[in-house]
């Protein structure tokens, strides 16, 4: 056990992963420079430049060659510098990575991990603050996970790498250095497909993931101080969704607040709301609330705080569910 921040925990996970000779890492500036967020710092020196590969600026090429490698028996991890730069590779992901198992009826598969630093909050330039995970959760054949702590970042990465199917791996940019926690040495996994209740409560269920966990927990504390007992679920995996855990909680509390940074329309919250009302309509004591980013391009530094769901907004939404 050591106390690490999320970037360090992810580096540790890669180090463990590279013990498997099938594992290779591809990305822009991940080798000598150690990656924009230093997640892969030192790995090329330690594991060699044909295991930790600096590529040209060519996202479709990176994902497409990694896919070929996966088919040929390697286990590639791809780093895209920011989620906002993955769109040029979207065709490779949707048309090939997500589909080769079905297309070849299991004869060929593409077990690979695509790492996407995502989310706002560091005052970055345009395209550097996106949360468009919904464009992956809608695509058949992909699993989608989101880290929220150093511990689950490492465990989910190692689980993703072992998964026989391709995994989109989201890393909240603003938590890389600002969250620390105890991280076990060596190999362990955080299972894909399982959400966790990170705080127990009885009055309302707050459901969040990734970067929004922090604000959501803060909201839960604030609520507690006014006598509202909030349960907090960290989804960890978006596909496959742990609907069982969600429904169990909401059936008990009768109220739900769904929190994400992505735009509201068509975000992950829409899917969860649709499932809850389908399975637990008669338990609902109030409409399900969505606290999300607005249906906008994420504003730049000066105004991004107007965009990211605030503790205040989450708290107010929870209170609304209690008022109706």
């Amino acid at each position: 056990m050591r106390t690490l921040n999320m970037a360090q925990a992810l580096r540790d996970a890669h180090d463990v992963a590279l013990e498997d000779p099938r594992v290779v890492i591809l990305g822009e500036d991940i080798g000598r420079a150690g990656g924009v967020f230093r997640v892969t710092d030192g790995l090329q020196q330690r594991h060699g430049s044909d295991r930790v590969i600096d590529t040209p600026v060519s996202e479709s090429g990176i994902v497409g060659t990694a896919y070929g490698m996966a088919i040929a028996g390697l286990r590639p991890i791809v780093e895209i510098q920011f989620l906002g730069f993955v769109y040029p590779a979207y065709d490779q992901i949707v048309s090939h990575v997500a589909r080769i198992r079905n297309r070849s009826q299991h004869r060929f598969t593409a077990p690979m991990v695509i790492r996407l630093p995502y989310g706002a909050g560091i005052g970055a330039a345009e395209h550097h603050s996106e949360s468009t995970e919904a464009i992956f959760t809608h695509i058949a054949g992909l699993k989608v996970v989101v880290a929220s702590t150093p511990e689950n970042a490492k465990g989910l990465l190692l689980a993703a790498l072992e998964d026989p199917d391709p995994v989109i791996f989201l890393e909240p940019i603003r938590l890389y250095r600002s969250t620390t926690g105890d991280v076990a040495e060596g190999h362990y996994i955080t299972p894909i497909g399982e959400s966790v209740t990170i705080q127990r409560g009885d009055d309302v269920t707050l459901i969040a993931y990734g970067a929004m966990i922090r604000e959501t927990l803060q909201a839960a504390n604030l609520l507690e101080s006014v006598g509202v007992s909030a349960e907090v679920i960290d989804l960890q995996t978006l596909v496959p969704l742990d609907s069982e855990l969600i429904l169990k909680s909401v059936k008990r509390t009768g109220r739900a607040v769904l929190v994400h940074e992505a735009p509201r329309t068509g975000g992950v919250g829409a899917e969860i709301a649709a499932q809850i009302q389908a399975q637990a309509l008669y338990s609902l004591l109030a409409p399900i609330e969505r606290v999300t980013g607005w249906d906008l391009v994420v504003p730049l530094r000066k105004a991004e705080h107007h965009y990211i769901p605030s503790v205040e907004r989450i708290t107010a939404a929870a209170r609304r569910t209690l008022e109706s």
Binding site: V24, A66, A70, A72, G73, D91, R101, P164, S243
Partner: protein
Amino acid sequence: MLAEPTRILDADGSPVSEVEHELDTVRYLYRSMVTARIFDRKASALQRQGRLATYAPFEGQEASQIGTAASLKEEDWLVASYRDAAAMNLHGYPWELLLAGRMGDERGGHTPEGINVLPPSITVGGHMIHAAGIAWAQKIKKNNAIAVTIFGDGATSEGDFHEAMNFAGVFELPMIFVCQNNGWAISTPRERQTASETIAQKAHAYGFTGVLVDGNDVLAVDQVIRHSIDRARQGKGPTLVEALTYRIRGHTTADDHSRYREKTHIESWRRNDPLNRVQKFLKAHDAWSAQWQSEIEQSASSQIEHAVTRAENLAPFDVGEIFSGSFAELTPTLLEQRQEAEGYDS
């Protein structure tokens, strides 16, 4: 700068440069082309009878495809697209599966174990990168295998062609890019696809060699490919081969090509038939007889009839099976959806 394409036999089957091939090899290549053409005609016929969905015929391109695949070793990989049944089959992909795919059956995509051929790419442009990744994996694993990708002139306009070529150059990948320049991308003539004089010359932009070859001359294609394979296996990196050929039929069985091209042009390419010249060459070397011709035709026909029967007799792809390819293990959501789907299946 524009080199003459490499050519060994002219359209009349007369050698224009030294023939290095053994007669037996020539007979093998010829026979493979005959078989491919019989398949192509059969598939088109099945389509007209409604027994096959849209089909993309390759008539006229047999030499390019057979020449591309003839000298690959079992461990080498072939990554091809929708029009490349001849090349895929020669490298081990069964006719039966090629037919099943075009009948609209997912099981057509299940390459047999041990055969290193990906199911055909239906989107244009995306698959060349996959061959680069596969070739790269061979290099990383220190295998001796190489990868070949085959695609059309239209495919070179997609960004993914560029990225694949660039990776191949930078990482000196053991692979071959084979462009079947058949003059057309659906209705778009080669000259409107790109302003470069040849496609072969594009290799220069990536720091490796491009070679122009007469794509209707199977001996020339095979020779150029062999040479490229040797280079790739020796660690000398990738090659781009442009095989100049012609699509004799419509883009697919759904295409009316009279809308955009002249009959006379097609006729002139018919006279340039890739089978014809080899037959003439074999005749001139007493290595062809009408009886042999009818033997190989019959053998091909019965092989293909057999494939048709097997493809048509595949059990129905029932509702449960459409779920089976999604993940290694169905997710809870998919299990529920499958149950729901099965409830409506009657």
